[in-house]
Protein backbone atom coordinates (compact mmCIF):
# COMPACT_ATOMS: atom_id res chain seq x y z
CA UNK A 1 0.00 0.00 0.00
CA UNK A 2 1.39 3.37 -0.95
CA UNK A 3 1.81 6.18 1.53
CA UNK A 4 -0.07 8.58 -0.75
CA UNK A 5 -2.20 7.79 -3.77
CA UNK A 6 -3.57 10.60 -5.98
CA UNK A 7 -5.93 9.63 -8.79
CA UNK A 8 -6.97 12.13 -11.46
CA UNK A 9 -7.69 15.06 -9.17
CA UNK A 10 -9.43 18.04 -10.70
CA UNK A 11 -9.89 21.32 -8.82
CA UNK A 12 -11.33 24.57 -10.11
CA UNK A 13 -11.71 27.90 -8.38
CA UNK A 14 -14.48 29.50 -10.34
CA UNK A 15 -13.11 29.88 -13.83
CA UNK A 16 -9.55 29.14 -12.88
CA UNK A 17 -8.48 25.56 -13.37
CA UNK A 18 -5.93 24.86 -10.64
CA UNK A 19 -5.55 21.10 -11.07
CA UNK A 20 -6.39 19.52 -14.39
CA UNK A 21 -6.39 15.81 -13.65
CA UNK A 22 -3.33 15.13 -11.49
CA UNK A 23 -2.21 11.62 -10.57
CA UNK A 24 0.81 10.44 -8.62
CA UNK A 25 1.77 8.04 -5.87
CA UNK A 26 4.30 8.24 -3.05
CA UNK A 27 5.66 4.91 -1.85
CA UNK A 28 6.39 4.01 1.75
CA UNK A 29 9.59 5.55 3.12
CA UNK A 30 9.97 7.65 0.00
CA UNK A 31 11.14 11.27 -0.21
CA UNK A 32 9.01 12.58 -3.07
CA UNK A 33 9.40 16.07 -4.53
CA UNK A 34 6.68 18.07 -6.30
CA UNK A 35 8.62 20.57 -8.39
CA UNK A 36 6.97 23.55 -10.03
CA UNK A 37 6.65 27.34 -10.00
CA UNK A 38 4.02 29.47 -8.25
CA UNK A 39 0.55 28.91 -9.57
CA UNK A 40 1.31 25.38 -10.70
CA UNK A 41 -1.25 23.95 -8.29
CA UNK A 42 1.09 22.57 -5.64
CA UNK A 43 -0.67 24.13 -2.66
CA UNK A 44 -4.10 23.12 -3.92
CA UNK A 45 -2.93 19.53 -4.23
CA UNK A 46 -1.45 19.58 -0.75
CA UNK A 47 -4.64 20.96 0.75
CA UNK A 48 -6.67 18.25 -0.92
CA UNK A 49 -4.39 15.49 0.33
CA UNK A 50 -4.41 17.03 3.82
CA UNK A 51 -8.24 16.89 3.71
CA UNK A 52 -8.60 20.66 4.01
CA UNK A 53 -10.47 21.13 0.77
CA UNK A 54 -12.41 18.80 -1.48
CA UNK A 55 -11.46 18.07 -5.06
CA UNK A 56 -14.06 18.64 -7.75
CA UNK A 57 -13.41 15.13 -9.04
CA UNK A 58 -10.90 12.35 -8.56
CA UNK A 59 -9.74 10.65 -5.39
CA UNK A 60 -6.82 10.71 -3.02
CA UNK A 61 -5.74 8.28 -0.34
CA UNK A 62 -3.27 8.45 2.53
CA UNK A 63 -2.21 4.96 3.63
CA UNK A 64 -5.34 3.60 2.06
CA UNK A 65 -7.70 6.07 3.74
CA UNK A 66 -9.91 8.23 1.54
CA UNK A 67 -9.00 11.85 2.32
CA UNK A 68 -12.44 13.17 1.55
CA UNK A 69 -14.73 10.63 3.12
CA UNK A 70 -12.56 9.64 6.06
CA UNK A 71 -10.91 12.91 6.81
CA UNK A 72 -10.82 12.56 10.56
CA UNK A 73 -8.69 9.45 10.29
CA UNK A 74 -6.36 11.08 7.77
CA UNK A 75 -5.88 14.04 10.09
CA UNK A 76 -4.47 11.78 12.78
CA UNK A 77 -1.95 10.08 10.50
CA UNK A 78 -0.34 13.00 8.74
CA UNK A 79 1.97 15.80 9.74
CA UNK A 80 1.30 18.96 7.72
CA UNK A 81 3.34 22.08 7.24
CA UNK A 82 1.53 24.63 5.07
CA UNK A 83 3.43 27.41 3.36
CA UNK A 84 4.36 30.50 5.36
CA UNK A 85 5.29 28.41 8.40
CA UNK A 86 1.94 28.93 10.17
CA UNK A 87 3.22 29.18 13.69
CA UNK A 88 1.98 31.39 16.48
CA UNK A 89 4.22 34.43 16.15
CA UNK A 90 3.54 35.72 19.62
CA UNK A 91 4.21 32.44 21.40
CA UNK A 92 7.74 31.31 22.20
CA UNK A 93 9.44 28.35 20.57
CA UNK A 94 8.73 26.28 23.65
CA UNK A 95 5.09 27.32 23.83
CA UNK A 96 4.55 26.55 20.17
CA UNK A 97 5.92 23.03 20.36
CA UNK A 98 4.07 22.26 23.58
CA UNK A 99 0.84 23.55 22.10
CA UNK A 100 1.12 21.44 18.98
CA UNK A 101 2.08 18.44 21.05
CA UNK A 102 -1.03 18.77 23.20
CA UNK A 103 -3.14 19.33 20.09
CA UNK A 104 -2.17 15.81 19.09
CA UNK A 105 -2.46 14.44 22.57
CA UNK A 106 1.28 13.83 23.09
CA UNK A 107 4.03 15.61 24.97
CA UNK A 108 7.42 16.90 23.90
CA UNK A 109 9.11 14.60 26.41
CA UNK A 110 7.63 11.37 25.11
CA UNK A 111 8.54 12.02 21.48
CA UNK A 112 11.70 14.00 22.05
CA UNK A 113 13.96 11.50 20.31
CA UNK A 114 12.19 11.86 17.01
CA UNK A 115 12.38 15.62 16.80
CA UNK A 116 15.67 15.95 18.69
CA UNK A 117 18.05 16.30 15.70
CA UNK A 118 15.98 19.24 14.51
CA UNK A 119 14.72 20.68 17.76
CA UNK A 120 18.14 20.64 19.39
CA UNK A 121 19.24 23.35 16.96
CA UNK A 122 16.60 25.76 18.12
CA UNK A 123 16.38 24.62 21.72
CA UNK A 124 18.86 27.31 22.88
CA UNK A 125 16.29 29.85 21.72
CA UNK A 126 13.28 28.16 23.24
CA UNK A 127 12.18 31.27 25.11
CA UNK A 128 12.30 33.49 22.06
CA UNK A 129 9.07 34.45 20.33
CA UNK A 130 8.54 32.61 17.09
CA UNK A 131 7.96 35.88 15.27
CA UNK A 132 11.54 36.93 15.99
CA UNK A 133 13.24 33.87 14.59
CA UNK A 134 15.13 33.90 11.30
CA UNK A 135 13.63 32.11 8.30
CA UNK A 136 15.81 29.06 8.77
CA UNK A 137 14.88 28.68 12.42
CA UNK A 138 11.17 29.17 11.80
CA UNK A 139 11.45 26.37 9.31
CA UNK A 140 13.02 24.06 11.85
CA UNK A 141 10.39 24.91 14.44
CA UNK A 142 7.57 24.32 11.97
CA UNK A 143 9.07 20.97 11.04
CA UNK A 144 9.39 19.97 14.70
CA UNK A 145 5.77 20.89 15.30
CA UNK A 146 4.69 18.83 12.32
CA UNK A 147 6.68 15.83 13.54
CA UNK A 148 5.90 15.93 17.22
CA UNK A 149 3.15 13.36 17.07
CA UNK A 150 5.16 10.80 15.09
CA UNK A 151 3.20 10.91 11.83
CA UNK A 152 3.92 8.23 9.29
CA UNK A 153 3.30 10.59 6.40
CA UNK A 154 4.66 14.14 6.21
CA UNK A 155 3.26 16.82 3.88
CA UNK A 156 5.51 19.85 3.51
CA UNK A 157 4.29 22.67 1.27
CA UNK A 158 7.21 24.83 0.11
CA UNK A 159 9.17 24.58 3.35
CA UNK A 160 12.31 26.10 1.82
CA UNK A 161 10.82 29.13 0.10
CA UNK A 162 12.23 32.42 1.22
CA UNK A 163 14.96 30.78 3.26
CA UNK A 164 18.68 31.32 2.61
CA UNK A 165 20.69 28.74 0.67
CA UNK A 166 22.56 27.31 3.62
CA UNK A 167 19.46 26.62 5.67
CA UNK A 168 17.79 25.14 2.64
CA UNK A 169 20.54 22.63 2.22
CA UNK A 170 20.53 21.70 5.90
CA UNK A 171 16.79 21.25 5.74
CA UNK A 172 17.09 18.67 3.00
CA UNK A 173 19.68 16.82 5.07
CA UNK A 174 17.12 16.62 7.85
CA UNK A 175 14.47 15.34 5.45
CA UNK A 176 16.75 12.54 4.26
CA UNK A 177 17.32 11.52 7.86
CA UNK A 178 13.59 11.42 8.52
CA UNK A 179 13.02 9.32 5.44
CA UNK A 180 15.69 6.92 6.68
CA UNK A 181 13.80 6.63 9.93
CA UNK A 182 10.77 5.39 8.01
CA UNK A 183 8.62 8.46 7.41
CA UNK A 184 7.13 8.94 3.94
CA UNK A 185 7.51 12.54 2.82
CA UNK A 186 5.85 14.61 0.10
CA UNK A 187 7.58 17.97 -0.37
CA UNK A 188 6.91 20.75 -2.82
CA UNK A 189 9.43 23.33 -3.95
CA UNK A 190 9.91 25.88 -6.72
CA UNK A 191 13.70 25.43 -6.62
CA UNK A 192 14.72 23.05 -9.40
CA UNK A 193 18.11 22.34 -7.90
CA UNK A 194 16.47 20.73 -4.90
CA UNK A 195 14.99 18.02 -7.13
CA UNK A 196 18.16 15.99 -6.99
CA UNK A 197 17.72 15.53 -3.23
CA UNK A 198 14.53 13.50 -3.73
CA UNK A 199 14.03 9.81 -4.39
CA UNK A 200 11.47 10.59 -7.05
CA UNK A 201 10.01 13.79 -8.41
CA UNK A 202 6.96 15.01 -10.28
CA UNK A 203 7.29 18.11 -12.42
CA UNK A 204 4.13 20.21 -12.32
CA UNK A 205 3.15 23.32 -14.22
CA UNK A 206 -0.17 25.05 -14.69
CA UNK A 207 -2.18 22.28 -13.05
CA UNK A 208 -0.67 19.47 -15.10
CA UNK A 209 2.00 16.91 -14.30
CA UNK A 210 4.75 17.11 -16.91
CA UNK A 211 6.59 13.99 -15.82
CA UNK A 212 7.23 11.64 -12.90
CA UNK A 213 10.38 9.60 -12.25
CA UNK A 214 13.62 9.57 -10.30
CA UNK A 215 15.70 12.69 -10.97
CA UNK A 216 18.09 10.84 -13.25
CA UNK A 217 15.21 8.89 -14.75
CA UNK A 218 13.49 12.13 -15.77
CA UNK A 219 16.60 13.37 -17.46
CA UNK A 220 17.08 10.05 -19.19
CA UNK A 221 13.45 9.88 -20.32
CA UNK A 222 13.10 13.41 -21.56
CA UNK A 223 16.72 14.24 -22.14
CA UNK A 224 18.06 15.65 -25.32
CA UNK A 225 21.28 16.86 -26.78
CA UNK A 226 22.42 20.05 -25.16
CA UNK A 227 25.35 22.42 -25.50
CA UNK A 228 26.73 25.10 -23.26
CA UNK A 229 28.03 28.34 -24.72
CA UNK A 230 30.42 30.37 -22.63
CA UNK A 231 32.09 33.70 -23.16
CA UNK A 232 32.50 37.16 -21.74
CA UNK A 233 29.75 38.85 -23.77
CA UNK A 234 26.98 36.63 -22.45
CA UNK A 235 24.00 38.53 -23.80
CA UNK A 236 25.49 39.22 -27.22
CA UNK A 237 26.44 35.56 -27.59
CA UNK A 238 22.91 34.57 -26.69
CA UNK A 239 21.51 36.80 -29.38
CA UNK A 240 24.01 35.45 -31.89
CA UNK A 241 22.93 31.91 -31.10
CA UNK A 242 19.32 32.90 -31.70
CA UNK A 243 20.23 34.10 -35.17
CA UNK A 244 21.59 30.68 -36.09
CA UNK A 245 19.19 28.56 -38.12
CA UNK A 246 20.39 25.26 -36.81
CA UNK A 247 19.66 26.10 -33.21
CA UNK A 248 16.19 25.25 -31.98
CA UNK A 249 16.44 27.19 -28.79
CA UNK A 250 18.85 29.04 -26.60
CA UNK A 251 18.38 30.48 -23.16
CA UNK A 252 20.54 31.96 -20.44
CA UNK A 253 21.66 29.60 -17.72
CA UNK A 254 23.83 30.94 -14.97
CA UNK A 255 27.28 31.73 -16.30
CA UNK A 256 26.58 30.41 -19.78
CA UNK A 257 23.83 29.96 -22.32
CA UNK A 258 22.27 26.61 -23.07
CA UNK A 259 21.76 25.71 -26.69
CA UNK A 260 19.28 23.14 -27.93
CA UNK A 261 20.49 22.11 -31.35
CA UNK A 262 18.37 21.31 -34.36
CA UNK A 263 19.25 18.68 -36.93
CA UNK A 264 22.32 19.65 -38.85
CA UNK A 265 23.91 21.63 -36.06
CA UNK A 266 27.66 21.41 -35.94
CA UNK A 267 29.20 22.64 -32.73
CA UNK A 268 32.73 23.23 -33.89
CA UNK A 269 31.79 25.15 -37.00
CA UNK A 270 29.43 27.36 -35.01
CA UNK A 271 32.20 28.03 -32.52
CA UNK A 272 34.54 29.02 -35.32
CA UNK A 273 31.90 31.35 -36.76
CA UNK A 274 31.62 33.05 -33.41
CA UNK A 275 35.39 33.47 -33.15
CA UNK A 276 35.34 35.16 -36.51
CA UNK A 277 32.46 37.50 -35.69
CA UNK A 278 34.05 39.20 -32.71
CA UNK A 279 33.77 36.62 -29.94
CA UNK A 280 37.29 35.20 -29.71
CA UNK A 281 36.71 33.61 -26.34
CA UNK A 282 33.48 31.76 -27.20
CA UNK A 283 33.48 28.14 -26.10
CA UNK A 284 30.93 25.45 -26.92
CA UNK A 285 30.80 22.14 -25.12
CA UNK A 286 28.28 19.37 -24.94
CA UNK A 287 26.63 18.92 -21.55
CA UNK A 288 24.04 16.78 -19.84
CA UNK A 289 20.71 18.47 -19.37
CA UNK A 290 19.62 19.12 -15.80
CA UNK A 291 16.16 19.11 -14.23
CA UNK A 292 15.64 22.74 -15.13
CA UNK A 293 16.50 22.14 -18.77
CA UNK A 294 14.03 19.25 -18.86
CA UNK A 295 11.38 21.38 -17.18
CA UNK A 296 11.81 24.10 -19.76
CA UNK A 297 11.53 21.60 -22.58
CA UNK A 298 8.42 19.99 -21.11
CA UNK A 299 6.86 23.42 -20.58
CA UNK A 300 7.35 24.18 -24.24
CA UNK A 301 5.73 20.90 -25.18
CA UNK A 302 2.51 21.79 -23.37
Amino acid sequence: MNAIEVDNIVKNYGEVSALKGVSLSVGKHELFGLIGPDGAGKSSLFRIIASLIDADSGKAFVEGTDVSADYRKVRSIIGYMPGKFSLYQDLTVEENINFFASLFGVTLEENYDLVAPIYKQIEPFKRRRAGRLSGGMKQKLALSCALIHKPSVLLLDEPTTGVDAVSRSEFWDMLSELRNKGISILVSTPYMDEASRCDRIALINDGTILGIDTPSGIIYKYGFKLYSLKGKEKYALLKAARECDNIKESYPFGDSSHIVPDTGFDASSFEMKLHESGFPDAEISEIHPGIEDVFIKLMHNE
Binding site: P37, D38, T161, G162, A165, V166, G254, I296
Partner: protein, 246 residues
Protein backbone atom coordinates in the same frame (compact mmCIF):
# COMPACT_ATOMS: atom_id res chain seq x y z
CA UNK B 1 33.73 55.80 -20.26
CA UNK B 2 33.05 54.42 -16.85
CA UNK B 3 30.39 56.74 -15.58
CA UNK B 4 29.85 55.91 -11.89
CA UNK B 5 26.16 56.04 -11.11
CA UNK B 6 26.16 54.73 -7.52
CA UNK B 7 28.96 55.42 -5.12
CA UNK B 8 28.93 54.68 -1.40
CA UNK B 9 31.68 54.99 1.18
CA UNK B 10 31.57 53.64 4.73
CA UNK B 11 27.81 53.76 4.76
CA UNK B 12 26.29 52.78 8.10
CA UNK B 13 22.83 52.35 9.53
CA UNK B 14 22.22 51.84 13.19
CA UNK B 15 19.00 51.09 15.00
CA UNK B 16 19.72 51.81 18.62
CA UNK B 17 22.66 49.58 19.49
CA UNK B 18 22.12 47.31 16.51
CA UNK B 19 24.27 48.02 13.46
CA UNK B 20 22.29 46.80 10.49
CA UNK B 21 24.71 48.09 7.87
CA UNK B 22 28.34 48.31 8.89
CA UNK B 23 30.60 50.52 6.78
CA UNK B 24 29.89 49.35 3.25
CA UNK B 25 31.85 50.76 0.33
CA UNK B 26 31.37 50.12 -3.38
CA UNK B 27 30.76 51.74 -6.77
CA UNK B 28 28.42 50.82 -9.59
CA UNK B 29 28.96 52.02 -13.15
CA UNK B 30 26.31 53.04 -15.61
CA UNK B 31 24.82 50.11 -17.48
CA UNK B 32 26.04 47.51 -15.00
CA UNK B 33 23.88 44.74 -13.67
CA UNK B 34 24.86 44.71 -10.03
CA UNK B 35 23.80 41.72 -7.94
CA UNK B 36 23.34 42.53 -4.26
CA UNK B 37 23.29 39.22 -2.41
CA UNK B 38 23.15 38.14 1.20
CA UNK B 39 21.16 36.01 3.61
CA UNK B 40 18.00 37.31 5.25
CA UNK B 41 19.00 39.59 8.05
CA UNK B 42 22.39 40.40 6.53
CA UNK B 43 21.38 44.01 5.93
CA UNK B 44 20.51 43.98 2.21
CA UNK B 45 17.09 45.54 2.50
CA UNK B 46 18.31 48.25 4.87
CA UNK B 47 21.14 49.13 2.51
CA UNK B 48 18.81 49.25 -0.46
CA UNK B 49 16.42 51.56 1.32
CA UNK B 50 19.23 54.00 1.95
CA UNK B 51 20.19 53.96 -1.73
CA UNK B 52 16.57 54.54 -2.75
CA UNK B 53 16.34 57.63 -0.60
CA UNK B 54 13.87 55.93 1.72
CA UNK B 55 16.02 55.90 4.82
CA UNK B 56 18.72 58.19 6.21
CA UNK B 57 22.17 56.69 6.81
CA UNK B 58 23.56 57.01 10.32
CA UNK B 59 27.00 57.82 8.96
CA UNK B 60 29.11 57.56 5.84
CA UNK B 61 28.39 59.06 2.46
CA UNK B 62 26.93 58.08 -0.87
CA UNK B 63 25.51 59.37 -4.11
CA UNK B 64 22.95 57.86 -6.42
CA UNK B 65 22.47 59.32 -9.89
CA UNK B 66 24.49 62.31 -8.73
CA UNK B 67 22.40 63.07 -5.65
CA UNK B 68 23.50 62.79 -2.04
CA UNK B 69 21.79 60.01 -0.08
CA UNK B 70 22.02 62.04 3.12
CA UNK B 71 20.45 65.25 1.93
CA UNK B 72 18.82 64.71 -1.44
CA UNK B 73 16.60 61.69 -0.94
CA UNK B 74 13.68 63.30 -2.75
CA UNK B 75 15.68 63.95 -5.90
CA UNK B 76 17.01 60.41 -5.86
CA UNK B 77 13.47 59.07 -5.88
CA UNK B 78 12.79 60.91 -9.10
CA UNK B 79 15.68 59.30 -10.93
CA UNK B 80 15.16 55.71 -9.93
CA UNK B 81 12.68 52.92 -10.49
CA UNK B 82 11.73 50.28 -7.93
CA UNK B 83 10.12 46.88 -8.04
CA UNK B 84 9.78 44.26 -5.35
CA UNK B 85 8.24 40.86 -5.03
CA UNK B 86 5.84 42.01 -2.34
CA UNK B 87 4.43 44.92 -4.21
CA UNK B 88 4.63 46.00 -7.76
CA UNK B 89 1.27 46.80 -9.34
CA UNK B 90 -2.33 47.30 -8.29
CA UNK B 91 -4.29 44.11 -8.83
CA UNK B 92 -7.66 45.86 -9.09
CA UNK B 93 -6.57 48.14 -11.90
CA UNK B 94 -6.15 47.16 -15.52
CA UNK B 95 -2.81 47.13 -17.33
CA UNK B 96 -3.61 50.47 -18.93
CA UNK B 97 -4.70 52.04 -15.66
CA UNK B 98 -1.56 50.91 -13.88
CA UNK B 99 0.67 52.40 -16.56
CA UNK B 100 -1.27 55.66 -16.44
CA UNK B 101 -1.08 55.77 -12.67
CA UNK B 102 2.64 55.23 -12.43
CA UNK B 103 3.27 57.46 -15.40
CA UNK B 104 1.51 60.19 -13.48
CA UNK B 105 3.46 59.44 -10.33
CA UNK B 106 6.74 59.69 -12.21
CA UNK B 107 5.66 62.98 -13.67
CA UNK B 108 5.43 61.99 -17.32
CA UNK B 109 3.31 64.04 -19.69
CA UNK B 110 0.18 62.46 -21.13
CA UNK B 111 1.72 62.25 -24.57
CA UNK B 112 4.78 60.51 -23.23
CA UNK B 113 2.67 58.06 -21.27
CA UNK B 114 0.80 57.13 -24.41
CA UNK B 115 4.00 56.62 -26.32
CA UNK B 116 5.62 54.55 -23.60
CA UNK B 117 2.46 52.47 -23.19
CA UNK B 118 2.55 51.55 -26.86
CA UNK B 119 6.27 50.72 -26.72
CA UNK B 120 5.89 48.59 -23.60
CA UNK B 121 2.93 46.63 -24.86
CA UNK B 122 4.60 45.89 -28.15
CA UNK B 123 7.76 44.71 -26.44
CA UNK B 124 5.87 42.48 -24.04
CA UNK B 125 3.35 41.41 -26.69
CA UNK B 126 0.60 42.46 -24.31
CA UNK B 127 -1.55 44.50 -26.64
CA UNK B 128 -4.56 42.27 -26.25
CA UNK B 129 -4.35 42.44 -22.45
CA UNK B 130 -4.34 46.20 -22.14
CA UNK B 131 -7.71 46.26 -20.41
CA UNK B 132 -7.27 43.12 -18.33
CA UNK B 133 -7.12 43.44 -14.57
CA UNK B 134 -3.56 42.92 -13.43
CA UNK B 135 -4.80 40.64 -10.67
CA UNK B 136 -5.91 38.07 -13.23
CA UNK B 137 -2.60 37.95 -15.08
CA UNK B 138 -0.31 34.99 -14.42
CA UNK B 139 2.52 35.78 -12.03
CA UNK B 140 5.20 35.77 -14.70
CA UNK B 141 3.37 38.34 -16.84
CA UNK B 142 2.80 40.52 -13.81
CA UNK B 143 6.49 40.53 -13.00
CA UNK B 144 7.46 41.45 -16.54
CA UNK B 145 4.88 44.20 -16.63
CA UNK B 146 6.01 45.47 -13.25
CA UNK B 147 9.56 45.74 -14.49
CA UNK B 148 8.46 47.68 -17.53
CA UNK B 149 6.44 50.04 -15.38
CA UNK B 150 9.43 50.53 -13.07
CA UNK B 151 11.43 51.67 -16.09
CA UNK B 152 8.61 53.71 -17.61
CA UNK B 153 10.36 56.99 -17.03
CA UNK B 154 13.77 55.81 -18.23
CA UNK B 155 15.37 56.04 -14.80
CA UNK B 156 19.12 56.05 -14.27
CA UNK B 157 18.93 53.14 -11.86
CA UNK B 158 16.26 50.53 -11.30
CA UNK B 159 16.21 48.67 -7.98
CA UNK B 160 14.78 45.16 -8.06
CA UNK B 161 14.10 43.41 -4.75
CA UNK B 162 13.83 39.65 -5.38
CA UNK B 163 11.86 40.14 -8.57
CA UNK B 164 11.73 36.53 -9.75
CA UNK B 165 10.58 34.66 -6.65
CA UNK B 166 8.45 31.63 -7.47
CA UNK B 167 8.24 32.33 -11.17
CA UNK B 168 8.61 29.46 -13.67
CA UNK B 169 12.02 28.94 -15.31
CA UNK B 170 11.03 30.20 -18.72
CA UNK B 171 9.48 33.43 -17.47
CA UNK B 172 12.46 33.98 -15.18
CA UNK B 173 14.74 33.92 -18.16
CA UNK B 174 12.51 36.19 -20.19
CA UNK B 175 12.61 38.57 -17.26
CA UNK B 176 16.39 38.50 -17.17
CA UNK B 177 16.54 39.15 -20.88
CA UNK B 178 14.47 42.25 -20.25
CA UNK B 179 17.07 43.21 -17.66
CA UNK B 180 19.84 42.63 -20.18
CA UNK B 181 18.08 44.80 -22.75
CA UNK B 182 17.56 47.51 -20.19
CA UNK B 183 21.19 47.47 -19.13
CA UNK B 184 22.36 47.50 -22.72
CA UNK B 185 20.23 50.61 -23.14
CA UNK B 186 22.12 52.39 -20.36
CA UNK B 187 19.91 51.74 -17.32
CA UNK B 188 21.84 50.50 -14.31
CA UNK B 189 20.19 47.54 -12.64
CA UNK B 190 20.60 46.90 -8.93
CA UNK B 191 19.08 43.53 -8.09
CA UNK B 192 18.80 41.22 -5.08
CA UNK B 193 17.89 37.58 -5.47
CA UNK B 194 17.81 34.25 -3.70
CA UNK B 195 18.52 32.30 -6.88
CA UNK B 196 22.27 31.85 -6.98
CA UNK B 197 22.27 31.02 -10.66
CA UNK B 198 20.82 34.45 -11.33
CA UNK B 199 23.89 35.87 -9.63
CA UNK B 200 25.80 34.65 -12.65
CA UNK B 201 23.78 36.91 -14.95
CA UNK B 202 25.20 39.94 -13.19
CA UNK B 203 28.20 41.97 -14.28
CA UNK B 204 29.38 42.17 -10.70
CA UNK B 205 28.04 40.98 -7.41
CA UNK B 206 28.50 41.75 -3.74
CA UNK B 207 27.68 39.44 -0.86
CA UNK B 208 26.65 40.92 2.48
CA UNK B 209 27.26 39.06 5.72
CA UNK B 210 26.42 40.49 9.14
CA UNK B 211 26.03 44.00 7.78
CA UNK B 212 29.33 44.08 5.92
CA UNK B 213 30.36 43.32 2.38
CA UNK B 214 32.40 40.12 2.47
CA UNK B 215 32.86 39.68 -1.26
CA UNK B 216 32.81 42.02 -4.23
CA UNK B 217 33.70 41.31 -7.85
CA UNK B 218 32.62 39.61 -11.05
CA UNK B 219 31.19 36.11 -10.70
CA UNK B 220 34.33 34.53 -12.18
CA UNK B 221 36.60 36.55 -9.90
CA UNK B 222 34.71 35.40 -6.82
CA UNK B 223 34.66 31.79 -7.91
CA UNK B 224 38.41 31.90 -8.39
CA UNK B 225 38.92 33.74 -5.10
CA UNK B 226 36.99 31.22 -3.06
CA UNK B 227 38.00 28.24 -5.13
CA UNK B 228 34.36 27.43 -5.85
CA UNK B 229 32.51 26.02 -8.83
CA UNK B 230 29.34 28.03 -8.43
CA UNK B 231 28.29 31.23 -6.72
CA UNK B 232 26.15 29.05 -4.50
CA UNK B 233 29.33 27.47 -3.12
CA UNK B 234 30.89 30.91 -2.59
CA UNK B 235 27.79 31.98 -0.74
CA UNK B 236 27.76 28.94 1.46
CA UNK B 237 31.39 29.34 2.41
CA UNK B 238 30.73 32.90 3.49
CA UNK B 239 27.40 32.20 5.13
CA UNK B 240 28.83 29.48 7.31
CA UNK B 241 30.85 32.07 9.12
CA UNK B 242 27.87 34.34 9.63
CA UNK B 243 26.68 35.10 13.13
CA UNK B 244 23.52 36.94 12.25
CA UNK B 245 21.30 34.25 10.81
CA UNK B 246 19.63 34.00 14.18
Amino acid sequence: MNDIIISVKDLCKQFGTFTAVDHITFDVSRGEIFGFLGANGAGKTTAMRMLCGLSYPTSGSGTVAGFDVMKQGEQIKKRIGYMSQKFSLYDDLTVRENINLFGGIYGLSDARILRRTAELLDMLKFRSEIDTLVGSLPLGWKQKLAFSVATLHHPDVVFLDEPTGGVDPITRRQFWEMIYESAAGGTTVFVTTHYMDEAEYCSRISIMVDGQISALGTPSQLKAQFNAKTINDVFRTLARGAKRSE
